[in-house]
Each structure stands twice: as C-alpha cells, then as structure tokens.
Amino acid sequence: MKPLDPRLVRRSHGVRSLLGAIAGLGVLSAGTVIAQAIVIATLVDRMFSARPLVSTAWTIAGIFAVRALIHWAHSTVSERAAVRVKAELRHELANDLLDSRRIGAAPDPAAVTTIMGPGFDAFDGYVSRFLPQLVLTCLVPPAVIVTMFLVDPVAALIVAITLPLSIVFMVLIGMMTRDKLSQRWESLERLSLHFAQVLDGLVVLKLFGRRQERSLIDVGRRHRDATMRSLRLAFLSSLVLELVATLSVALVAVSVGLRVVDGGMDLLPALIVLLLAPEAYLPVRQLGMMFHDSTEGAAAVNVALDLLDHDRQTGHQSAPNLRTSDIRIDRVSVQHPDRSMPSLLMSDERIRPGEFIAIVGPTGCGKSTLLDVMLSFVRPTTGQITVASTDLRDIDPDQWRHQIAWVPQMPGLVAGTVADNVRLACTVASDTHIRQALDDAGAADLPLSRTVAEDGLDVSAGERRRIAIARALLRVRTGGASLVLLDEPTAGLDSEREASVLASLAMLDATVVVVAHRPETISAASRVIALSTPVEATV
C-alpha cells in the first residue's frame, strides 16, 4: 500500500489544499515543540540553581497555549478537508450510479451502500489524521535534529542515526510480515464469511436441525490461533520502533548525564537535548499507530475508485426511428471475462417493426443478456446490432432508450406510491392513464395511492412485476416508446391475469420482444426466436 495514493491527490482539489495548509501549520508546530523544550529546560535549570523563575514559568504556559492553538487549528483544518474530500468523491459516485453510459453489470448495491455509508468512515481517519501526520513526520523530526545538533552534536548524531534506522527496520519487518498480514486479512475474511453464511442460512440450518454453535466456536478458535501466530510477527515492527525510540532516548540521557558529571557539559543544554530527543521519534511513532487508519482508509479509496472505473458508451448519433427501421442482430456474442463459456451466442436475426417475438431457450442460454445488449447496457463481444445501418454502439444511449419500454425479471421500485412507480415511464401521464395501464397489466386490485416502501420491500414479486408491466404499457401509450422488451413478465401471475397481460401487449402499437418459458406466453407471440446454450468450441 502506498501511504498517499497519487490518484487521490490528482483527483481531489481538497486533498491538495489540505496538504498545503498542514505543511504551514507543521512548521509552526515544529517551532513550538523546540521552544517548549528550551523553556522547560531553562525552568528546571533555574529551579536547580535557585534563580528567579516566575517569568519563565508564565512563558512556558504561553508556549503551551500557542501549541494548543496550533494543534486545534491543525485538527480542524484536517477534519474539514476530510469532509470536503469525502463529499467530492460521494457526489462523483452518486452521479456515476445512474450514469446512462455505463457498460456492464449494474453497480453492486452492497459495495455502493458500504462506500456511501459506513465504509467511508475509514476515509475520515485517513484524510483527517493519517495524511496530516505524514506531513508532520516529514517536518518535525528534521527540525528537532537540527536544533539538537546546534546544542549537542553527539546526542544529535545518536538520534540522526537511530531514527532512519528504526524506520528502515520497521519497513523491513513490515515487508517480511506482509504475507503474514495478508494471510490474517484473508483468514478474517473467511471467518466473517463463515459467520455471515451461518446467519444468512439460519432458516435452512434450522429446517435441517443443524445447530452451529460448535462450528462457530471451532472456526473462531482456529482463526484466533492463526491470528495470534501472525500478530506475534506483525507487532514486531512496532516493537522495533518503540525499542529504538525509547532506547535511544535512554542512550542520550545516559550519555549527556555522564558528560554533565565530569563537567564536560552544562545542565541547560543537557536538559534541552533530553527533552528534544523523544520529540524526534514521536511523530514517527504516532504515524505507526495510525497505520491502521491508513490501511482501512486506503482500502475505502480503492473501492471508491474501482466503482468509478468502468467502460462507458461513447455513441452520440441520434437514434433511428424504431417504428420504421428493422433491428438487425448480426452474429452477436457476449463473453464475460470471468466465465469460460460465452453468455450469449446468436446467428443472424432481424426484428421488424410491429412484430411480437418470443425468445425461448434453455436456462443459461443468454435470453436476458440479449435484452441487455438491446438496451445498450452490455456491449457485444463480437458481432453487432444495427438499426437502419447504424451500429448500436454509435447511437446515443439515452436517445435510444427513449423509444424502449422494459420489464426486467426483478423490476426496481422506488419509494412513493404505486402511481409514482408507474409514472416513471412518462412523467406527464394523468392518473387516468396510469389507472388504465395498471388495469391492463392485471393489477386492477392495486390502488394508485398505495405506498411502496424503499426498494419495494412491502410489495410481492407478482405485484412488482405487474407494476413494471403497467410502467411499460404507459411508456408506449403516452410516452411514445415503440419497442417493448420483457423478461418473463408473467412468471408468478395466475392464468387469468396472464391472459389479460398478453392481450394488452398484443394490442400495443409497438414491437414486442418477450423472454418467455410459459406456453401461454409463447403461443401469444407472432414469431419465436429460439436460442441455444453456447458451446465453448464455437468461440
């Protein structure tokens, strides 16, 4: 892991201005640390030799007050920068979520939820604590060592040699234990996965009477013992850092102490050196402690940047009118990089305006994938779809989809009412139109004003599908769409409703392409396109 991701610095204005402000405050902070050591040493010296010390006493209070002020400004600036940077990235992610030019799978809701919610908390620690500490670590120790050199070159030399040495050791041990550490993360992931699976499968496990206490304990213990083995090594790096830091302070103390005894050194410089030595190590030690923040924060940054990293459609041509143009599907195949077999493999097909086509085929032959391709959600790996001799990939996706009504297998619902959800298809539609669309979708029993919870949690699968069918009907009738794509729209409907839906679809003034396996749906179509399971050898 890099302590500071250059992509983040390039991308974020907030991070750049934070680094500037923190560098300024860091210089001031180094100044007060040095001043504080000198004044406290003076104070001890004066008390030792019974000289007046009242004015020095109030000076030290003043210096601490200034240091407090700088510290406070430092954390406020960092905190605000973290908030700004986070909001910047979140806005970008929000826009990307509904980016109509996205190619490939829809964003993973789990990753999005985490990153938009609690996952980004780790980011606070990274920007507001780790990055500023990184800057301080670059500024304070050198300033302290230079000051020590002016006071006592011998002590300065001890620190100047051991400090880089401790960092080198720490990095070396860190590198040596990195494998162990990543093993630990993997083991932790496995453990969490096991626990999550047990919770996820509670009902199944309960049905089969498999109690999991024993296995939770066994897996937990195995994980604990493995973790302890790797922690023994992992904690070594901080052991080395601490050991070098405290041992060199002890070395400095003893060395100056012995020189003071034989009169080789005065009390005041000896005390200054003693007080400065730990300050040289402190920023490094704190940085080490914040390493945890940084790994989690950097991981969050990675997830965010990964989410933003996907292919986009580039087409800008206007879409041909689908009422007059055929859609030509020309040897289209889709191959997902992580699968050995293609998800879809088609020879030539032509869909003419006004046709009612049923797509059939065994499970896994790519029926839904074909709809994704036709919606410009997925780009064919080979072959192309052309409309009025324009390649679909050159057509502006928003314009293209303007002519399409779509009913996916698991339609998405938004919070609001049933009417709100249907109206997505055409914002200007009247309630009468919406009622009509619902009635024709076999959803006469659904009142317009019925509320729908977030993500449609309170709506059954059948109701969800019927709302989506009504949405598609409305899109054609008042929204002017001329191509309807449906993915098993009648699954879960009783035969009466199914018949009414099929009749409504048949009467639409539009081309209808429906993925179907129910005989009733297939027989309603004017033509059937049969897909077969792709075979590896053909690619």
Partner: protein, 544 residues
Amino acid sequence: MNRRLIAGAILGCAAQLSGVGLLLTSAWLIVRAAEHPPVLYLMVAIVSVRFFGIGRAVFRYGERLLTHHVALSRMIDDRVRVYRNLERAAPAGLPRQRRGDIISRVVSDVTTSQDGLLRIQLPWIYTLTSCAVVVAVLAAVSPVAALVVGAYSLACLTVARLGLANAVRVDSIAAAEARSTMSAQSAVLASTSRDLVAYGAAAPFTHDLHEAIDAQARTQLRTGWFAGLGAALVLLSTGVATALIAVSANGVRPVMAGVVLLAPVALLEPLLSVFEAERLRPAVLAARSRLDQLDDLRRPVVEPLVATHAAVAGGLALHGVVAGWDSSLTTPTSVTLERGSIVGLSGESGVGKSTLALTLAKLIPPRSGKLTLGGVDYRDLDGQDVRARVGLCGQDDVLFDTTLRENLRVAAPDVDDDRLRSILTRVGLGPLLERMPAGLETPIGNHGSSLSGGERQRLAMARLLLGEHQILIFDEPTEHLDRDAARQMIADILSLRDEHAIVLITHSASVLAVCDQIVHIDPALDSDAAPRPAPAPAQALSLA
C-alpha cells in the same frame, strides 16, 4: 476474571509507567549529575533509565499479544450469542430489513464491540494507574506539586469522560442519521439504477442523494472543530500545571527540580490516549447496544418444557388452522397428510401460503386451530423433532457459498459420496455433475450463483431428500423453470409419493392438476382469528 486479561493489563500499566519513568528518571539523572557526584552514585539511575527504555517497548509487545487474545476469544462468544438469538427468532421474528444489511451490520458490530476493551477500557486503566503513581511519587517529594498534578490529571480525565463525550455523541448521532439516509438512498438507487436509466428518470433521484451528501457534510463541518479540542485542552493545562508547580513548589530539593517540573509533561501522552479512546466510545456503545437488542428479538415459537416424542407412524393433520404472522391471515384450513397423499395448496399471491408452510414446519405458531403430528399436538412437540419429519423446500432457499458436497451435507453430515451422487442424479443433476471436472468438490458460488435457476432448485430438492423427512413441502417448485424443466420437476416430485406425504404450494394450474386433493386458501379478515398468542414486545432492531 481471565488470567490473560489481568496479565495483559499489568503489562500495559508497566509499559506506560516505563514511558513516564524514562523521562522522569532521566531528568533526575541529569540534574543529579549537575551536582557532580561520583559516577557510582548515578549507577542505579543509569540502569533504571536503560530498563525503562527497553521496558516500554517489550511490555507493550506482551500486552498487545495478551489482550488481543482475550478480545479474539470474546468475539467468539459474541458470535455464538448472536447466532443463538437470531436462530431462535428466525425466520418470522427477524427484523424486516434487507437480510444482507443485518448480516453485515452484525458481523461488523461483533468486531467493533471488542474495540471497547482494547481501545477504551484498557487505555483508561493504564492512564489512571500512571496518574496515580506519579501523584504518589510527587507526594513524597513535594506535596504542592502532587496537588497540582493531581488536579491537572483529574481535570483532563473529567473533561475527556464527560464534557467531550457529550459533544462527540451529538456529533455522531447527527452524522449517523445523515449517513444512514445516504446509504439507504444509494442502495435503493443501486438496485433500481437499471430501471431508472432505462426510463431516463434518473435526474430527480440523484438530486435527493446529492442533497443528503451535502447535508451530511454540513453536519460534520459544524462539529469538525470539536475534533482537536480535547488534545488542545490537555496541552493548555499541561502548560498551566507546569507554570503553577514552578511558582508554587518552594523548598523542593534542587535535585528533584527535574522530576517535579517534568511530571505534567510526562503525563501528556497517557492523558492524550484517553481522549483518543473517548473518540471511539459512541461507535462501540452503539454496536454493543445493537447486539444487546438481539437478546430481545421476539421468539415466534415457544418450545414445550417437556417434549413428547410423536409416534413414528401417523401423518400430519391440520384442524382449522389459521396461519398468519404480521399481517395477512388465512381462513381456517383443515386437512390430513398421510404417506402417499399429494395435497395442493393454492390461493391468490400474498394470501399467506408460504406462512402456512412455515407454520407446518413449526417455525411460526398457528394463530388459531391445531396441528398434530402422529396424533400429538404441535405445542407438545419440540420444533427440532417436527422438522426432522417435516421438510420444507422454500422459494428462495439459501445455498451456501461452498462446494456441492458441503451444501448437501447440511442435510446429512455423515452421508457418503455414492449416496450424494445418486441423489444428485435422482433430481436430474447427473449431467451437471458429469460436466464439472471437480465433481462434488465444485464450488457453487454465493447463493449458488454459478448454477442456473433450475439447477439451484434441483440442488435444494436434493438436499431436502437427504433429510429423510416423512412429509415434504414444496413452495412454488416450478417457479423460474421453463416448461420442460417444470414438467420434469413435477414428475420427479410425483415419484416421491410412495415414501412421503407431499404438499405442493403453487398457483400453477398444471401443478395443481397432479394433486389428489386441493386446498384453496383465502384471506381472512383480522377478526376471524384469535389474537396473536403472547403479544410480542415490539422490538424494532435499529440498524442506524
């Protein structure tokens, strides 16, 4: 008390005291050296300085190992406790949020709540010990200095625990609210993004999310200036304490000048560490209280204190059973299930067919009426015993992210591979098994994602058959299957009738056609049924 914990805490105190001791002993050493005594007089101090120098790092290393062991062990206990609570409540008593949300929350809460020990309780113990020891040492040297340092530590600790904690809590509550709005909204957007994009309706929805992002940023900006306040206060009071000691501690022996004047500086790090600890407290408390709430989840089924064991022979009978959980109720249903019978349950979607299935498996009590198994009332039977005889293949049964073999072994841990292969062949997964080079070792992905819908359903059926139940309930077995596969599935189910009683929950006319007896289920008005037995405490699990 755990011996490891005590040892760890002692080492932790020793580590922090070594840090304090290093500075104060070094100061004494140097000041004493300025009196030019023979070097011999300094030997004890020199050895102590070196000891403290090594001690802090080594003690800390031991402390971290011991206390992490304790925290990891406690996490195991927490996981078991969470599992027990959720298992008792499942499925009906579980909160109605997205399952994935609850799970990921619980998994991370278990980890967070142990931060309470490692990063809050223990640092507090170490700091309190260091403060006490320093004050005690000072009392012997200069009572005035002891008084000042005592007051200084007490003030800082009080501010850490009381003053700042409240500010942090306000901050984190407001931020948590904004955050949960944000993640809920983005989750909804992520799962509906395709629909919104396809319909070109995205703009108004992102607008809300952008608002939520800005609102969250504003809350955090408002409270951002709190972050460094604690440490700033400690620094400020360290200065004041040092100055006060300097002007008021008269008559201290000169050799002790370093010790008394540096005492506040020596306590700087320990005091800052409790402010650091307090920063985490709200998150840890929230995680703990969420885990504690799981203790109070309502338990749908009350198991008998002394369970009767039902006679092995004899079927399942329903006498006027009204099924229902939170909302919908069914009309009273009466039917008897004997070996060889195939009963179809039909009814409108949402009428409560699946709830009735859960009632048959004793996962939910009936709202009224009575179920008997081999003539014994369900109320007198242990749920585990009922489920050993009544098997259920649900609509979205979970398949585990592991191999084919392990998924099947959930039903029968001791079964051999030959039997597994024959059962897979029996449910029509023979071709799949042949296609997979790894055979039974083939991983099937999260929720069986590398299988097709039909294969998933068949695997769930194979698992059900391994359970050797007498009564099999299939909830919508042909959903998501194409025509041929559905016909094959029904034929396969029919072939089971010789050894089992079978219940088919379906709305498909072709499936109902194969049943001997069809029970039509209608929705009932609420007044038809008795009130829910044992009104459960309305415990909402908040996941904010």
